[in-house]
Each structure stands twice: as C-alpha cells, then as structure tokens.
C-alpha cells in the first residue's frame, strides 16, 4: 500500500492521481509515494453527524506535504484524511499511518458495490 500522488512531465503533483494532469492536461506518467513523508495540517474538523459505517466522531484534516525535494514545479501537495486523534490543531506536523478499513463498507450506499473502490488507506497521526 502506498499513498500515491501523480505527477506529469511538467512537474505538477496531485493527490489523488488522475489520468490527465488537472493543471496542464498532460498524462500523469509518474507517481510519488507520500506515505513515508510528514505533512502539516492546513485545516481540520471533527464531524459528529457521520453516515452509516463511519466512526463517530470523525476527525478529518486537509494536510500539506512538502515535495520541494522532488525538483518538481509544485512544492506542496495536499491530501485529505482521517486523523488518529480528536486532539489536533492547524499547523501540527502529522505522519501517515496505515489502516486496513477506514469505514465499514458493509453498510451504507455502496454496500452492494463495495468492490468499486478500496477501503484501506492512511490516517494522519500527529508527530
């Protein structure tokens, strides 16, 4: 399992990946694994009204990974994910930790089509 961002020949980086670069329209021909990098919390929320199969409360954060070492055009790439704790602030440093199942796919709207996507991924853990 990787936390794969996509990059295009013009050095634009996005998470998640797209067939074509959202910035310039070139095919994304490389991926960058963000899972062993640290990131900074841009903003967060603790959601107390969660859909079926989702933990409650569900603290979520948009975080920013520094990818300036890649010599790409973009210096940062953002990602959204659950936080391991409800105790988080904007500006905190976090690292991704792998979780086998982020929500229970056996309940909710996609219970019959759960094979259409994967359900594992990374939570943000304050460093």
């Amino acid at each position: 399992m990787t936390l794969a961002a996509g990059s295009c020949p013009n050095g634009h980086v996005s998470y998640p990946t797209h067939p074509r670069c959202p910035e310039c329209g070139e095919p994304q021909d490389e991926t960058v694994d963000l899972s062993d990098r640290t990131a900074e919390v841009v903003t967060w929320t603790t959601s107390t009204a969660t859909p079926p199969g989702v933990r409650e409360p569900n603290t979520l954060a948009i975080v920013e990974f520094d990818v300036s070492d890649l010599d790409a055009e973009d210096e940062f790439v953002r990602a959204l994910g659950q936080v391991t704790t409800d105790d988080v602030e904007s500006g905190d440093a976090v690292e991704p930790v792998y979780v086998e199942e982020l929500r229970d796919p056996d309940v909710g709207l996609k219970r019959e089509t759960q094979a259409s996507q994967d359900w594992d991924g990374y939570r943000w853990d304050p460093v």
């Binding site: 969660t50 569900n58 990602a79 709207l109 991924g121």
Partner: protein
C-alpha cells in the same frame, strides 16, 4: 433571442407526505396557472433532480411529469448537477429558448428526502465525492467545517459572523409562507447549538427537505404579448471546479462562483455594483461569505464584515436571501436553484409580499457539491 420568465411557483418546503412525482406536478401546475399558459403550449420540459433513484427508487421523473401535466409530446429531460441541478435547469431552459429550439419551456425542480435518516441522506449526498475521500467518511458538512475553520483563522473573522448569517436568513424566512422554518433565532441560540462539524454547529447548516419549485420561460417577444409582468434572464454562466476539494489552489476561493458570475455579468453587461438583491446558496453559513466574495460584492476575506454590519439584511445595501435562503427555506436538492430563481422573479415583478425589496436587477448563485459545479444567473425586471 431574449429570454423571459413569465411564471413561477413553489410548493411548501419541509417534511411532506407527497412523493417526488406529486411534488413536481404540484409546482408545475401552479406555475402554468400563474402564467395563464395551457399545457399544450409547452414545447420543452426540464426536471431538475439530483437523486430520485437513490432517494425513492424512482427514475425517469421527466417522463412521469410530462404525462401528469399533459404537456405531451414536449421534449423532456432530467437535469442532474447535484445541488446545482436547479441552476443547471435554468441554464438548460434559457438555452432552449435562446437557441430557438423552444418557444415555451417549463422548468420544474424537486427532491423528496425526509423519509431517509439524516445518516442515509448524508451518505447519498457524500457519494458525489472522490472514492479516496468517500472512504474517509467525508461529508459535505465536514468540508464546510474545514473551510470555515481555515477562513476564520486566516482572516481573523469572528465566529459570531457566521451565526449572523443564520439569524438573518431565519429572520427573512419568517415572511416566506413556503419556508420550512418560519422561526426567528438569536445569535446565542446559533452559537450554543450542537456541534455538527467543528467549528460549525447545527444552525450553520440547512435542513433536509422535501419540495418543488417551477419557472416558465418564453421569448421576450411572446412575453410582451401574453404576460402582464415578466422578468428577463439577461446573463447566465456555468462553471466546474475540481472534483477533489483539497486540490484547489486556495480553500477559500470558489472558482466556479468566480467564473460563472464573470460570465453572467459579461452577458448582462452588468457588474456586482448593479445588484439590488441576491439569492446565494447558503447550504452552510460559510458559503454565503465565499459567494459574496466570489461574485465580487466583497474582497477576499471581508464578506464577514457585511454580515456583522447588517449590509446583507433586508434593509441593508444588498439584501441577500430574502427568501430565507436554504437555511430557513430548506434545501430539496434539485428544487433549490429553481426556488432561488422564483424568489428573484417575484422580487423583480413585485410579487414578494412582505419580503419585497426595491429591485430591478437580481442575481442567483446555485452551488453544486462543495463548489464543484456552479450556475450564476442575472435577471432584470422587464422595461
């Protein structure tokens, strides 16, 4: 070809016993009656609806409505653009008349939602997100919470300014007999209501709603012949922003609002200073700020001051959401953008009753997803 609106209607919004087909036909019939137009005059029928299949297990609602209203053999089509389906319906209806394809176009938007639990309804709406977001349990309210926190922290805006949006729109809703809530609230109540997506609380969110709204479009020439009063769609624009919300350059800028309003202003030959009244998509209180900034009424990071100063109240310099907005009127997804158009129409032709303000130019901004798809419409009173 100039496009006119010659009739409008909306059903009572709220928790309704009626299912989707009945809600749609109720608004459709009332709209034709309002304009004094018979069903056989209708050449195109558009039905704005996000998810009747997911909510009710009924698809093909445009065909059902066409038959129920007796508009056969009119061309019919269902328009889905999630929360902005209603605005997209205005766009389609405008196109159909402007292109000459139709001389008389009926638009009906509707949604039936309240029979689902809040969790189920939230899940259906959250299914618009990217699978990498959906699996984290992200919801539209949680996007609002994250964006509101960022806005308040970055622009040093007081938390109270968001509560003021809710208080204002609840106040306006008291005068709208079709609103889901006709109840005033105070700032304290809003600030002490239960947390839904921190820092946002219950009163920062619109409710889950059943309801329908309709508008009737024709050419300006024909409107001048058959209508006592009418309004003109003088500008309209539609734009799409990223599917993945965090991929936007600036979390506080709704690109779709900026692009679609620029397009609408350009077509109308007008700008933000010309507006007399606006209906904005206040699905969450923070969205009223982002839209006021996106449509050029306020600079980035300053719209909260308008709320604090009362500038967007009914007696302020630019009344916003005189209908009560989604906040108190309710938000039956596919109906909301049409209901915004209904309010602007009624304001322009002087039929808004106790909500009436003096208005020659009005704007409606209908936001789908969390700014994913946006339609902005500028309407003017007929000369």
């Amino acid at each position: 070809m100039g496009v006119a609106v010659i009739g409008a209607s909306m059903t009572k919004f709220g928790q309704r016993d009626a299912w989707i087909q009945e809600l749609l036909s109720q608004a459709g019939e009332e709209c034709l009656d309002d304009a004094g137009v018979t069903p056989d005059d209708v050449e195109h029928l558009y039905v704005s609806n996000m998810a009747s299949g997911e909510f009710q297990g009924q698809t093909g609602v445009m065909n059902a409505l066409a038959h129920d209203l007796g508009v056969l053999p009119a061309y019919s089509e269902r328009v889905d653009q999630t929360s902005s389906s209603g605005g997209a319906g205005i766009y389609e209806a405008w196109q159909s008349v402007a292109s000459g394809a139709s001389d008389m176009t009926l638009l009906v938007g509707g949604e039936k939602m309240t029979h689902k639990t809040t969790g189920q309804a939230t899940d259906i709406i959250a299914s618009i997100t990217h699978p990498t977001e959906y699996k984290h349990g992200v919801t539209l309210p949680s996007f609002a919470g994250m964006t509101a926190r960022h806005y308040l922290e970055r622009f040093d805006a007081p938390r109270e300014s968001l509560a003021r949006v809710a208080v204002k729109n609840h106040r306006n809703g008291v005068d709208n007999p079709n609103a889901q809530f006709q109840k005033e609230i105070d700032v304290e109540t809003a600030l002490e209501s239960p947390i839904i997506a921190d820092p946002l609380r219950l009163y920062d969110f619109c409710p889950i709603t059943d309801g329908s709204a309709a508008m009737l479009f024709t050419t300006e020439e024909r409107a001048a012949e058959i209508a006592d009063e009418y309004a003109v769609v003088s500008g309209i624009g539609g734009a799409t922003d990223t599917h993945v919300v965090h991929e936007r350059d600036d979390p506080t800028v709704m690109g779709g609002v900026v692009e679609s309003s620029e397009e609408a202003y350009e077509m109308a030959g007008l700008g933000p200073d010309d507006l007399d009244v606006a209906e904005l998509h206040d699905m969450f209180t923070i969205l009223e700020f982002l839209q006021l900034e996106g449509i050029g009424v306020a600079d980035q990071g300053t719209a909260w001051e308008l709320a604090m100063d009362g500038e967007t109240a009914k007696d302020g310099s630019l009344p916003v959401n005189t209908s009560g907005g989604l906040k108190s009127k309710g938000h039956p997804l596919g109906a909301s953008g049409v209901a915004q158009g209904v309010e602007i129409y009624e304001q322009l032709v002087g039929e808004a009753g106790p909500r009436q303000v003096e208005a020659d130019v009005g704007l409606a901004c209908n936001v789908g997803g969390f700014g994913n798809c946006v339609i902005t419409t500028v309407m003017e009173a007929a000369e």
